[in-house]
Amino acid sequence: MEKISELQTKRAVNIIWTAAGRHDFTPDFKAYNEAGEADIYWNCIIGAVRLHYDYPQFESIFRAFQEYEDSDTYEGLLWLGLENCVYQHEVKQRPVLSSLREKYARDFLLAYSRNDYYSLYDALATAHYERVLGRERPMSKYDRKLLDELEFSCDMSTEDIVSRAKELFQRWFQICTEERKKQKKRYFLGFKKRENKGKKTRYRKFGIGIADHPDNIYGAGDSSEKRPEALINTRLSAQELRAFMETKFGKPVFNLRETMEIERELCSGSHENCHLLFTKGERIDISQVQNGFEALSRQREAAQIESNKQYYKSNISQNNTSILKLTSKIQNSVLLHLQPSPVKSNSGKINGSLVWRAVTVNDDKVFIKNEQDDMGYLCVDILLDASTSQQNRQETVSSQGYMIAQSLTKCGIPCRVMSFCSMTGYTIMRIFRDYTCPQDNGKIFEYVSNGCNRDGLAISAAHHLINKSSYEHKLLIVLSDVKPNDVIKIRPGISQEPVPYAQQAGITNTAFEVRKARADGISVVCVFTGEDEDLPSAKLVYGRDFARIQSLDKLADTVGMLIQNQIKNL
């Protein structure tokens, strides 16, 4: 079966959410028509099951079916039964269902009238949909009895349906729906337990269309799914690794669903197998950290943060002057930029030298009106490299970052300060201060360096965040030594073998991501902190838009200049 497009998946999920009246779950089972488009009627039913019944109880039955070779048949039959009772509940609130159901029934019967082969499911479903249209078709006594039992009535509670379904499948198909009982394989009428679970495809026939069976369907979960060993040398599963990262770096800003979506968008192609964690650094209490090594590194971090703050305090008067200087520098360029331009107009401030025109040539435009040029709203994002290469200058980077943020705050220019580092495949985007949170400036002192740096992914993640904001002019300042390096390899071309994310490959990728951000209207500039030998790579990645600083004390000055240039170019 062909793959269903993302758009259709999203449609199906949304219909299910609408029908369920809530959006806080991830639907497992979704229905599509033959063309792979989301099926409105069935997805409504799938959603409404959750509205009217306690769905997890059904889940366990569906899960038990997956053990059997003919799971599709059983699944189809149970859904047929559920459709019967859910429809009766839901149609009261959603009268349109009656016409949707009739249409589906007609389509189903039409599709099956052309079909020769006839399975048990086909026979029962055909009879069921005939009944929907108010007709009774001739069928065997047994089939009729089974269908009668299967069409659950709407008076039944979840528990009634569950016990009826269990009993029914046990009696008719010898299927044990109790979970995970280690039993010998049963053979009955050719229905046998599936021997190899992995062989079934994800999209399989359902009614006249297709149903999506993701790996974790019915909550069976892929929680123990191991990450490919060759990629990452860790014994943790995907979930455990994510949990570890969240403990280490802080709670994620986005929920799992949103994160997955972002990863699908950003962690593909060159960043295949990578993951992202956006965090504001809210961490669980240190007392709850079980891992001894982790507790130790927390202590070290706390000491570093303290040292960052001390460093700033020890030069407090100089730093304050720097802030004031930077503030007035930026403010001046903003003011200069906002020069109003005078225009002749028929209202406004009178221009004495033009008055004669009104009297003699009847020209009313004897006034001057000041048209303010609007510079539009500018936002500044500062992205600090927090990889181990910055280890020896953490204090300077953090206090310079603080000073820039403080000055921008005083000028009323929204700014966001982030740092990035990479670890076992995760690129961690730590957001210290967001556009609207000037009170968080102090958090910049929590800058602590750690791990590798996958510059390309970090820039693309920053690009993603900036794009979400509504400011007209966007400036991204990257503080970096332009030495990308990460453990997850990169594939330079589609058919090429992966190479380490470092040197040429890493630089090319970073340059590519910078170009992408620029094409999107974001000005990306770099404050280069590296050595002479890396100058060519900085040129390659950022073109002319980088400023080299020999010592980090000049960071605030340099950034001030870059912002000034940006304002001039607006």
Binding site: N14, H23, D24
Partner: protein, 304 residues
């Protein structure tokens, strides 16, 4: 209007004060046309009570709320309740002092002040509705500071200084976080009493629909309310933007059905097509299909 207030459960004492206000400040004949006759009524006792009290106490109010919360409906209703002429002033990026208060112009060979809407409103004791106040830049609004606070004056350099009429009130509206809006600064915000407009409840939405279209059958009013709530659910969980959450579009759609379109055609124009992103449109269209049958028309949804 006063009977409507009583039906909303407003204290009789407040209503009496409103009547006293009306009697104390009669309206000039030439301005009677400016007194609005509201097409829609605002439902919500709490908000009514707050707004009426604040205006009676001489304060200006700022109505803050997302789309479809009835900010402008309430503003219009208030002017109608107090029987005051209304001036509508829409704010935009380039709104400046001159466009609000007035600017020099040339008339009969003489320079004179052409009065802006704020000036007129202040002089005639009207209710000024400052629509989308946060669209304008804060600096250009600073000319209003003296007008809006206890001084209640307008002072234009080179012209006379005028005192606001005692019955002048300003009602500002804003949608916080709407694209293109700015942060309202403290100086401006402190000159208003701020009312947070609650999201319209299902009951009130139904009342609104039925009042505007008395012939609408109850079961279809229910379906439309559900449809709207479902779209709101999608917006709240950020599956779609708020473009399709369009109360005006919903009301207009019902009107279109009375003219002969089918309900789903009308809603497509009024709601679905409000979003211009193909994918989003598909999601909204799905909500519609899962709620309204395609062949429902005027015969089905209206009584007789």
């Amino acid at each position: 209007m006063l009977d409507f207030l009583r039906s909303q459960g407003i204290d009789e004492s407040i209503i009496n004060e409103v009547i006293a206000f009306r009697n104390q400040y009669p309206v000039k004949d030439c301005h009677k046309v400016r007194i609005p006759v509201p097409k829609y009524k605002y439902y919500g006792t709490d908000v009514w009570q707050k707004a009426l009290t604040a205006l009676l106490a001489g304060e200006n109010i700022l109505l803050v709320g997302p789309k479809a919360t009835g900010k402008n409906v309430l503003a219009e209703n208030l002017a109608a309740v107090f029987c005051r002429p209304q001036w509508d002033i829409s704010f935009y990026l380039n709104t400046d002092a001159a466009s609000l208060i007035g600017t020099d112009t040339f008339k009969n060979g003489e320079v004179s002040l052409r009065h802006g809407p704020i000036y007129k409103c202040a002089e005639e004791g009207g209710f000024g509705v400052l629509d989308e106040i946060n669209m304008a830049k804060n600096e250009s609004l600073s000319v209003l500071h003296a007008t809006l606070d206890f001084r209640r004056i307008i002072d234009v350099p080179g012209y006379e200084r005028i005192q606001l009429s005692p019955c002048t009130r300003f009602i500002a509206t804003m949608n916080y976080g709407y694209a293109g809006t700015r942060e309202v600064n403290e100086a401006l915000a402190s000159r208003f009493m701020v009312i947070n407009m609650p999201i319209i409840t299902a009951d009130n939405l139904k009342k609104l629909l039925v009042t505007a279209h008395p012939a609408l059958k109850e079961e279809y009013a229910d379906q439309l309310v559900e449809l709207f709530q479902e779209i709101r659910g999608k917006c709240d969980s950020s599956e779609i933007s708020t473009k399709a959450l369009d109360l005006r579009g919903l009301m207009a759609s019902v009107k279109l059905v009375s003219q002969g379109l089918t309900l789903s055609q009308a809603l497509e124009m009024g709601i679905v097509n409000k979003t211009f992103d193909d994918f989003e449109r598909q999601l909204v269209s799905d909500i519609l299909t899962a709620r309204i049958a395609t062949d429902i028309g005027r015969e089905q949804i209206f009584k007789n």
